[in-house]
Symmetry: C2
Subunit: 124 residues, 2 copies
DNA sequence: CCGCTTATTAACCAGATGGTAAAATAATGA
DNA sequence: TCATTATTTTACCATCTGGTTAATAAGCGG
């Protein structure tokens, strides 16, 4: 896959199970079995998810007796945060524009209730 | 795939080509051919990438003659930003700890020079 | 209508992903 | 040493992904 770090991080985050695991780890270290408990899937599945998170540098693992406790290692998220920050003005701008548009009320637009997705609909 | 919105967004961002397309769109609208130009891949490939971005709500597309101009629609990134913010203290904490460790200098560690780019500051 | 330009759809392929069950490994404790 | 607990590895499967080429569609401009 050779993917760059940012891609690897985003890919790791693109799964609700893995994000839930990270959320759990915010509350402190946990062993694999403990992490698996809330999910309706087998241990090997969780083990794979943990490997994905580990390769993305989002968790680190230790060893204590038979357990392999995991802990959060969030720096890649710093990278994500920095990446996304570049786009901040775009979603903020968009909201501003929407506000302007709604306030200006050019001509006598029939005030259609907001109801998103008015246009486009490229067939289908 | 039924994936939730956040998963769809992260998945869409987990590809350097798609991130590059978003970066290009920061500089303004562009048609498909124009977006495709910088990449060593065929138009259908780009078309697919655009579909992924569109389904993630990261771009919107219009129509102008034969062209289908794309423009950035970054609100899903707002969601990402909000999600990632919850973890901020974790990567900041880690850096703090590192700092502590470096300052304490227990025993007589050989002072390796800090080598600029110490810890990055998340900007802003 | 014809032909050009722009873009999408269709069909296909290799490789990644997310899951399973069953077997293997690792550390502890009797 | 043996059983137990905790976790990973292996082998397998279906589906998704990212790319290709070839065919199709949609708007122009003559």
């Amino acid at each position: 896959m050779v993917a760059d770090r940012l891609s690897t991080t985003f890919a790791a985050l693109a799964d609700p199970t893995r994000r839930a695991i990270l959320a759990r780890l915010m509350r402190g270290e946990a062993a694999v079995g403990e992490l698996a408990a809330p999910f309706a899937m087998t241990l090997p599945a969780i083990s794979k998810h943990l490997k994905v998170l580990e390769r993305a540098g989002l968790i680190a693992r230790g060893r204590a007796a038979q357990r392999r406790p995991c802990r959060l290692a969030a720096e890649p998220l710093g990278e994500v945060s920095r990446w996304v920050a570049d786009y901040r003005r775009f979603w903020e701008l968009r909201l501003d524009r929407l506000e302007d548009y709604l306030q200006e009320a050019p001509k006598a637009r029939t005030r259609r209730p907001k109801k998103g997705k008015a246009h486009d609909r490229t067939r289908r």
